[in-house]
Assembly symmetry: C2
Homo-oligomer: 528 residues x 2
């Protein structure tokens, strides 16, 4: 018997016990070309046993490339699922976010058709039936902690798009995870209606509950109940470095300034923070800092949030997923269950990332882009404007709707081919996911540029002066001056650019391994 309770204890809808089967027996339900929807969000709460069994089946029978599926999941899932599936050539379409070397390779070499989308949109659009020809999903695989007497699903470490999948899935496979404690009671579920029948999300503080802990599920759609003991393959903790800490310091200074100006309350506003070392450094700064009674309204809770809880400064947190590291994150969480459980609300993606609560609560949105340009457009997704990394995620949901919209990035990223590194501040982004209309502040380790109410040409100067790496400052200013002069002379200079040179830094990197530009007068020297 499991230390966390048996399958029989977890499945309280007793009639479902007749549908219990082994993961490998579920292979029968899958046909090539099927549209598959899954629970899961940023390696948390995704099904594992059945996807692994399917991959084993393909591998064992040499079916690579012959059994491709379309995968619709709230965000990324663990490498043992989507990345292995990609390496076995099992994925045709993947929406709207992913993580893994093999899946990224598949996407960027044209084998996998991926589309990214604001995560908050994706959730509701699945419910609206926008992603498949008939608006349905052939099958959904859902990881749960338990099923109650009414066939309500108590989910695990994330909510993802499970409510929407319940509306559009023809068949449902349930994985009951008995390899960890039950998360029953942590979720706050409401089922979205389609317009014109949608109702308000009556959330007026970050952890307010407006629903029930269970996702209603039609028992007749359930074709299999599978026991699983696999734990989430959580993201490893991203260590903070000096640069991240410098960025965090600028941000905390800015918070103090805004409190002084009366534009932020003393306990700030609900924080949204992306993933990675800068996000961790910001939270680290708050752990040591003098802000109290903080709240978090975000999409992903990571290890550092446990520190913030432990500091006594965080009153509560709302998210779509609890995406802790496999070790030490989850064990630490499970060992201190009572300390954290009541302070966390897990919400469906369609609520965690909805404009309505984000805007009403006035979230402070903080995310890291690939690059930012001098006019404050940001690229979050495509390196060089063409190579997909993971996807847009919820950055747009929060940056568009937050009270303060902050993008933070190191001023340069390391490369082997240039000692300074690649500049993250460029004349024009090679891909734009967030526009100049969506950002309030840009922060690097060099400084913070507050762009509120600042016109484009001044904004450019501010970003270059406050944020660019010293080795790139002059060349960016040279570009700005040259472009400004040329465009103003022609009476077309609201936001100056020169299209024969705007991408010179990118092209130089591509061809010569450096973003340094010695002479802007020479237009892109690539005509030979």
């Amino acid at each position: 018997m499991s230390q966390y309770g048996t399958l029989e204890e977890r499945v309280r809808r007793k009639s479902l016990l007749s549908k219990v089967m082994k993961p490998e027996d579920c292979v029968q339900f899958f046909k090539p070309g099927m549209n598959i929807g899954c629970s899961g969000f940023t390696p948390a709460g995704y099904p594992k046993a059945v996807p692994i069994a399917l991959a084993d089946h393909v591998e064992k029978n040499g079916l690579q490339g012959q059994t491709k599926y379309n995968l619709f999941i709230g965000a990324s899932v663990g490498v043992e699922f989507e990345d292995r599936w990609a390496s076995l050539d099992m994925i045709d379409r993947r929406w709207p976010y992913q993580t893994g070397k093999n899946i990224a390779k598949g996407i960027n070499t044209g084998k996998i058709r991926m589309g990214d989308k604001h995560l908050g949109h994706f959730a509701q659009d699945v419910g609206y039936g926008f992603y498949t020809e008939n608006g349905r999903m052939d099958i959904a695989i859902i990881e749960v902690s338990a099923i109650n007497e009414d066939c309500g699903l108590a989910l695990t470490s994330s909510c993802g798009i499970v409510p929407e999948l319940m509306m559009v899935a023809d068949k449902i496979i349930i994985e009951v995870n008995t390899g960890q404690p039950s998360f029953e009671g942590m979720h706050d579920i409401i089922m979205q209606q389609k317009p014109p029948y949608r109702q308000p999300f009556l959330i007026t503080h970050a952890t307010q509950r407006i629903g029930t802990p269970y996702v209603p599920c039609d028992p007749e759609k359930i074709v299999a109940i599978v026991e699983s003991k696999h734990r989430d393959k959580g993201r490893a903790f991203a260590e903070m470095d000096e640069k991240s800490e410098a960025i965090a310091e600028h941000i905390l200074d800015f918070f103090h300034h805004e409190v002084k100006k009366g534009r932020l309350p003393k306990n700030l506003l609900p924080l949204q923070s992306g993933v990675g070392s800068i996000a961790n450094a910001v939270v680290g700064g708050l752990v040591k800092g003098d802000f109290y009674n903080l709240t978090v309204y975000t999409e992903v809770l990571q290890d550092t949030m446990l520190d913030l809880f432990d500091s006594g400064k965080l009153d509560g947190a709302s998210a779509c997923s609890l995406s802790l590291s496999e070790d030490p994150g989850f064990p630490r969480f499970f060992d201190n269950w009572d300390k954290y459980f009541d302070k966390i609300v897990l919400r469906p993606l369609s609520v965690s990332n909805a404009p309505e609560p984000i805007r009403r609560l006035g979230c402070i949105a903080m995310n890291t882009p690939v690059e930012i340009d001098i006019y404050a457009h940001a690229n979050s997704t495509l390196v060089g404007g063409t190579r997909m990394i993971n996807g847009l995620g919820g950055s747009g949901d929060f940056l568009r709707n937050g009270y303060l919209k902050i993008m933070h990035t190191p001023s340069v990223r390391p490369t082997k081919t240039d000692p300074t590194g690649i500049s993250c501040i460029v004349p024009h982004c090679s891909h734009i996911d967030h526009t100049e209309h969506d950002l309030d502040c840009v922060v690097t380790e060099q400084g913070l540029a507050d762009l509120r109410g600042v016109a484009p040409k001044e904004r450019a100067r501010l970003i270059i002066e406050k944020c660019a790496h010293p080795d790139y400052k002059d060349q960016l200013l040279d570009y700005l001056e040259m472009a400004t002069k040329s465009c103003l002379e022609r009476g077309v200079g609201h936001e100056p650019q020169l299209w024969d040179r705007a991408f010179k830094m990118h092209l130089n990197l591509e061809r010569n391994g450096t973003m340094k530009v010695k002479n802007w007068d020479v237009k892109i020297d690539l005509c030979e």
Copy 2:
């Protein structure tokens, strides 16, 4: 005595009558460098008497360039105000939208500092104090129909940012417009709170009222009451042409298709529609069409909406402004007051353009861009990526949050230098206001591309095949194929682009007056 009632009748807060003065006597309240906020939205409901008096004063005394102000108004105001001010060099900063030859010239030659912003953001950000150093406006000029006993303002043909101005203005000048009927009762006002004190907008159908008809105003802040008889200098009606009608036909066909698929109810969903000939043609199509019980939730109501009301097919409309033409729009409206009055709700910009109701109601968003690229990014603001036209407006508020997000444009726009015209479909937009993540459909007179659930490279093919002008189709496909081949070979091909050629069409237009590209192998031939 005015046929519409006297000033004394309109000002029911009797103590204010002691502050009545002539427009020219208000000049005393203005000092150079002041931050001025005004009522008004898309030439409707803006103050006229005082701005004209100020302009006269500057002109008469040769003060051009010596008395510059910062203007914060919900959207554009009439030419007699902002455009004349621009020609008299009276504007330093202008936020967030404008109309007029002289003001555009001032912006694009660097004389006027303009910033555009999602209008829904602008409204709330003014209330948050984001646009001025101390968060305040020195003075607000507000056009009203009447002032009630409690000093509540009954506005005129728009609501704009008046509620927010009441929160941040130090002094207030009121223009009481007795030159037209009183709009008292048409407005639905709620005062925004700052987070963490914001409450839901409980709007669940387009014309639902959630507030009161009056904007609360502090009588002690009022420094002058001015009578005005100037009418709005409304936008002239944009005639429909063959192309617009073809576009409208594609859109109506699409609506029928979506109803059939069960993705739209029979009476559609609340319509948002931009301004101009295509928007007029779409409404014209609905007037003749077989959709009934329609509703509108938009930012601007134009002349054609009166036709849609007259057809009996429109149940009600919500907007931020009633922006009718001077003739025949407003006279027609005033002459048939009872027919329209009860069916229209005018809301503050912070409500009309808020993500919350737009998303909940499931608006069908339709707007016209400057250009769209093959991956469905759209440029709404800057010709050639650098020259400001009017500003972003509310296009982003509706395109991001609508149920269906449609951009419509002719496939080409006329130019003297190329018989086919300039292609509105390009490899890469020269400015991006709306990203690939925000659009569902692209429509030109050539056809409609439904991009929901379609990955980038397929999306590009679909847009080119369905929407591009025949004279540009081949060269766009050539670019796509060339870029795809090159990027996939290098394993960087999620969304292929070649930065030495992506702007070749734009550069060719700039230098040679044509967007036709004969040979993509020749990289931008501008190095000499």
